[in-house]
Symmetry: C2
Subunit: 362 residues, 2 copies
C-alpha cells in the first residue's frame, strides 16, 4: 500500500526536523509492506512575510484531496499582532477537522541524561483540537466605565466535540491496556484509566458540558475495563508535577490540553522528545510539540526525536501499529543507549547524527 504524505516544514527548526521525518519513512523495513510518496507544502510566518498568506489554499486542498497523512514542523508566531496573520497550525487543525491532538509523553531512562521527574512516566494527553478559546472569536470595544478598551473572546464547548474527544481517549486507553497485558496473563501493573480534566467549579456550563459529556461517553460498555476519574485543571497541574507516574490517559479541552502537554514535556526532559498526532477522519498529521526555536535555528542541532516519534504517532492513527512500533522502539533504544544525544538533553549530537543513529536501528 502506498501512503501519500504531505510535508509542511513551516518555520525555523521545522525545516530541519521534517526532513528527518521523511527519511525515517523512507528507511522503514520493506517487510512492513508500506510505500510512501511525498508532496512538499508551504505554510508559516516566513511564507506569510513573502507571499501575504500563512496557509496557502493549495496546501489545504492538497492535504484534503491527495494525502493520507502529513507531517507539520513548526511555525513562528509573532507575539505582536500582525495585520492579516493568523496561525496556520490552528487553521489547519480546523480546516482538516483534526479533532484530536494526541500527545504521548514517556520517560526513557538513559545514562546520558536525566529526566526531571524522579519516576518514569508514561501518559498520553488527548487534547480537543477544534474549539474552546481556539475558535478565535474575539472583539474589542471601548470601556464604557473608563479609559481604555475591553476585549472579549469566546470559549466554545460542544456536546459533539466533547463526545468525540472522550471516545478517542477511551479507545486509546483501552488499546494501551491491551498492549500492557503481559503475555502470560498477569495483570498489567498500571491501571488503565482516563482522567477527565476541566474547571467546572467555575465554568459550570462550558466545562460542565465537557465534563458531563465525557463522563457519559466513557460510561459506554466498550470502556468498562477502564477507571474513569476527573480532576479540576489546577489540581491536575499540581498532581502532574507531583505524581505524573500515576496518570495514563488525560483528556482535556483545547487550552488546558495545550498547557498540560507542555508541562508533561518538561517532566520527560525536553519538548524535543514529545510527539503528537492531529487526528481526523480523513487525514492524520504528525507534529512535534516543540516550536520553531529561533534561538537554535540553522545550527543543525535541533532534536529530531519529537518529529520521528510523530511519524510513529501518525502511522499509529493510520492503522499501521507495527510500523509505529518499529519507530518507537528504534527511538527508545537510541535514547537508552545514549550515544547520540542532542544538546537540549545535554548531549552534543547533531540533528543528523541522532537521525542516523535511529535509522540504523529501524
Amino acid at each position: 500500500r502506498t501512503l501519500r504524505i504531505g510535508l509542511i516544514p513551516g518555520d525555523g527548526i521545522g525545516r530541519e526536523v521534517i526532513p528527518a521525518g521523511r527519511r525515517i519513512l523512507e528507511s522503514l523495513p520493506s517487510s512492513l509492506g508500506l510505500k510512501f510518496d511525498f508532496v512538499d507544502l508551504d505554510a508559516g510566518y516566513e511564507h506569510f512575510k513573502a507571499f501575504g498568506t500563512a496557509l496557502p489554499e493549495k496546501t489545504v486542498e492538497t492535504l484534503q484531496k491527495e494525502c493520507d497523512g502529513a507531517l507539520f514542523g513548526a511555525v513562528s508566531s509573532p507575539t505582536n499582532k500582525v495585520a492579516g496573520y493568523t496561525s496556520p497550525i490552528v487553521a489547519l487543525r480546523k480546516r482538516l477537522s483534526l479533532y484530536a491532538n494526541v500527545r504521548p509523553c514517556k520517560t526513557v531512562l538513559s545514562p546520558a541524561f536525566r529526566s526531571p521527574s524522579t519516576s518514569p512516566i508514561d501518559l498520553v494527553i488527548v487534547r480537543e483540537n477544534t474549539e474552546d478559546l481556539y475558535v478565535k472569536e474575539e472583539k474589542t470595544y471601548p470601556d464604557p466605565n473608563g479609559d481604555g478598551q475591553i476585549a472579549e473572546a469566546i470559549k466554545r464547548i460542544s456536546t459533539q466535540a466533547s463526545r468525540r474527544i472522550a471516545t478517542i481517549a477511551g479507545e486509546i486507553a483501552a488499546r494501551r491496556q491491551k498492549m500492557r497485558q503481559k503475555p502470560n496473563g498477569e495483570a498489567a501493573q498500571k491501571e488503565a484509566m482516563v482522567t477527565i480534566t476541566h474547571k467546572s467549579n467555575v465554568l459550570s456550563q462550558t466545562d460542565g458540558l465537557f465534563r458531563s459529556t465525557a463522563r457519559e461517553a466513557l460510561a459506554a460498555p466498550a470502556f468498562s475495563s477502564l477507571k474513569i476519574e476527573e480532576q479540576i485543571v489546577d489540581s491536575m497541574v499540581y498532581k502532574l508535577f507531583l505524581q505524573p507516574q500515576y496518570y495514563d490517559v488525560i483528556v482535556a479541552p483545547n487550552l488546558y490540553g495545550d498547557l498540560l502537554s507542555d508541562g508533561a514535556a518538561a517532566l520527560v526532559g525536553s519538548l524535543g522528545l514529545v510527539p503528537s498526532a492531529n487526528v481526523g477522519e480523513d487525514i492524520v498529521m504528525g507534529e512535534p510539540c516543540h516550536g520553531s526555536a529561533p534561538d537554535i535555528e540553522g545550527k543543525g542541532i535541533a532534536n529530531p526525536v519529537a518529529t520521528i516519534r510523530s511519524v510513529g504517532c501518525m502511522l499509529e492513527f493510520l492503522n499501521q501499529p507495527e510500523a509505529a512500533d518499529v519507530i518507537y522502539n528504534a527511538v527508545d533504544e537510541g535514547l537508552r543507549e545514549g550515544k547520540f544525544i542532542s544538546p537540549d538533553l545535554g548531549g552534543k549530537a547533531s540533528t543528523e547524527e541522532v537521525m542516523d543513529d535511529i535509522v540504523r536501528r529501524l
Copy 2:
C-alpha cells in the same frame, strides 16, 4: 493601631487552619504596636446546604464596612452543577474588588522534607483576580448542526484591570529587589524581573490587550531597574517546571495565574505551604492556596503553614512589613529546623503542633 479582621473559615480544613491564623495574629510581639479584633463570618458550600446561600450578604457587608483585613479558609465546590450554588470565593473577589491575587512560592531547604524542584525557588505569581473567564458569563443553546448542545463562556480582558495588575506586579518586583539588596551595596544575585504571561499568539485581542497594556505599564520610570520579559503561557508552564529558580515575579490573567500557582506550589513541595493575598483598595484578604481537602478533613493534620504565611501576606499588603517578616521568618525557621512537619510533607505533626512551634518562634 487596631486592625479589624474578618475570619471566614468556609468548608473542610478551612475550619481547622483559620483558627491557626487568628492565633498567630494574637501572638505577635507587642513591640510591633499592632492590635487586632476579630469578627467571625460565614460562607461556603456547607452554609449553602444549610441556608441556601454560599455567601450571605452579611459577610460581604461586614467585610466592606468594618474590616481592614480578612482571612479566608477554603470552600468545597461540587463538580456537578448544583442549582443556585456559585463559588463564594470568586464572588468575594469580585464584590470586594480584590483585584490582585498575590501568591509567593518559596523553597525552604529542610532536612525533614525534599522539594521536588532541585534548586530553591523564590518567585511570586501575581494573578489578575476579577475578570478573564472568571466573569462567569455563560450560555447554552441547542447545537444547530447536530444533536446535543453548545455552551459558551466569555473571557474578558480590560485595559484597566490589566494595567492595575501589571502595576502591582512591578511594585512587588521593585520591593523585592530592594529587600534583596545586600547591605554592603553588592548587587543582589537574582535579577529583578517581571515576566508577562499570555497566549497572544492565539488570542490576539484579549491576551494581546493584556500583553500590550502590561508592557506599557511596566515601561514606567518607576520600573526602570526591572527586567521586563514575556512568556507564552504554554512555554511558561514548561519553563516553570524546568527552571523555576530563574523566575522572580510572574504576572498573568486570572485563569493562567490559577494554573501556574498550582504548578509552583507543586515545585515547593505542597499546596500546604503556599499562601496568597487577595489585594483590594479597601481590604486585603489572606487565603491559603489549598482547597478544603475533604480527604483529611476533621483529622487535625492539615498543614497550617499556608494560612500562617497568608497572614503574613495580608499584613504585608496592609502596610505592616515588619509584622509580616516576623511571621515569614518564624515559619521558615520552623521548616528549616524540621521538627514539626505535617503529613503532606511526609512528617507526623498535627496542625496544632506545627502552629505551636511557629508561635514559639514569633
